[in-house]
Amino acid sequence: MALRHEPPSGAALPAPGGVLHRRPRLRLGLLLGPPLLWLGVLYLGSLAALFITSLWSVDAFGGNIERIWTLDNYRDLFTLDVYRTITVRTLLTAAAVTVIDAVLAFPIALYMAKVASPRLQRLLVIAVLTPLWASYLVKAYAWRGMFATGGPLDSVGLSPGYGVTATVLTLSYLWLPYMILPMYAGLERLPSSLLEASADLGAPTRTTMRRVVLPVLLPAAVAGSIFTFSLTLGDYIAVKIVGGANQMLGNVVYDSFLTGNNMPFAAAVATIPVAVMLLYLTAVRRTGALDSL
């Protein structure tokens, strides 16, 4: 055909949309620019600046930052017993929370994915999701009431009182949906016919669990553990509410920042959870769990 239909606006002056249409790179740049500027420059820049600040110090009187390079903050962090104790306590708490959540999440995730009827399945997903969006603070506060002297758990002699145990339980409670959801999503993708095939071939339930369910469950559990681990490392409010006088790394960060007016030391402490998470992410990368995030 010799005749070509020209859009009316294209004849005199190209419309801006037309220019964009012919230049996908420009379109991509305009779309990606602002979010990338925000996250790549502002957020990553802040993280880099935080690390640099951790290599500075404060003067002894006013808490003003002195821009002199020093490793003193890290030396204090690794040599003073109090910080080592707090670091170990925080890591152990994160590990305990992750294990408890995995143990609690497995049966309900399996039930939701493979046993419940579609209607019940939908209801259960909502039942698990709803408390996820209930206020974090309110949930921690709720456990303060549960563990209180003279409270419901205490009245049956089951309250551990405010302390590390209460903190572990409260944090397990707070992050439980983050473990249930990836496990449920993983198990839902597992075809039921595989379970049937395993049973038809004579495998007892235990063998089916170990050989069919577990290989699907493990990457999902690892995906969930990234959240339970990271959220525990970054938390300092729950331990204030139910942990008695115990401290976690987050408390040290916050107290150095606000009460101590020592931003460089707070920055140095904050690099521990980042380092731990980076190590953790690298370690689990090989399991393929990151793809299911």
């Binding site: 990606l32 999440a105 309110v138």
Partner: protein
């Protein structure tokens, strides 16, 4: 269903226990908001609604609610814009570093809250010389709210594919016209769901907030936290907590209506 009858019964019993574990503490807060005892004696000696009326007239709580609503609205507006742009860029284009960008969007919620909080506070104070306040608070909230909008938007875009947009372009509509008349209407409910979840996330956030809000701005979680340990405020704090539990049903219910179960599962992660 090839799991044995016993296995299924055990799973059911265990699931019921986990649900009890999830809901018992929340039920206690709601029940205690009617407890006549100021110290929440267990079991409650009697029930009353006096704390609810006291809480309604509490000026501190009312101001804090207004501040929280403002912050959540502004942060959500920014997150909605940037999250949608990022989702369109990542779903409709293939480019070098695409995986890195998607990791970057998740990073503010993947890294521990204290890290994001102290990093942004440090950036505002020492890099930009901006005092902490409403502005720094909204910026920090928008940073981690972006991912909820992004997750919802990209899940929808993935499902839609690009056929209708190509058809629109072939029929002579430009980039903006196509976005406005084709892409946006199809994404609307997913964006609304993402915005709702982002709003809820911002409204509830406390850890980053304690770092970037400064001393002059009091959001509702900050108000609760500051009054949590004051015995004479205990009944009012408890009523606010109970009200928040009841209200938290709204965003999840709405987002279920809007986006369906699968996408709200994706959004929660």
């Amino acid at each position: 269903m090839s799991l044995s009858r016993t296995t299924r019964a055990v799973l059911l019993a265990f699931s019921a226990l986990v649900l009890l574990f999830i809901y018992a503490p929340l039920a206690l807060v709601v029940l205690n908001s009617f407890n006549t005892s100021r110290t929440f004696a267990w079991p409650p000696p009697d029930l009353t609604t006096q704390w609810w009326s006291a809480a309604l007239e509490n000026p501190g709580a009312r101001n804090a609610i207004v501040v929280s609503l403002e912050v959540a609205l502004m942060a959500t507006a920014v997150a909605l814009l940037l999250g949608t742009m990022a989702a369109l860029a990542l779903q409709r284009f293939r480019f070098f570093g695409r995986d890195t960008v998607s990791l970057l969007i998740v990073l503010p919620i993947a890294l521990p809250g204290v890290v994001t909080g102290i990093a942004l506070a440090n950036a505002f104070l020492t890099m930009f010389g901006i005092q902490l306040g409403l502005f720094s608070l909204v910026v920090s909230h928008a940073t981690f709210c972006m991912v909820t909008v992004f997750n919802n938007a990209i899940a929808r875009l993935r499902r839609l594919g690009g056929n209708l947009e190509e058809a629109s372009m072939d029929l002579g509509a430009g980039t903006f016209r196509t976005f406005w008349s084709v892409t946006l209407p199809m994404m609307r409910s997913a964006l609304l769901a993402g915005a709702l979840l982002s709003f809820a996330l911002s409204f509830d956030e406390i850890i980053v907030t304690t770092f970037t809000a400064g001393s002059g701005v009091q959001t509702l979680p900050i108000w609760i936290y500051q009054n949590l340990f004051r015995p004479n405020q205990a009944p009012v704090v408890n009523v606010v907590a109970a009200a928040l539990i009841v209200l938290s049903v709204i965003p999840i219910w709405l987002s279920q209506k809007l986006a369906g179960t699968d996408e709200s599962v994706a959004a929660a992660r």
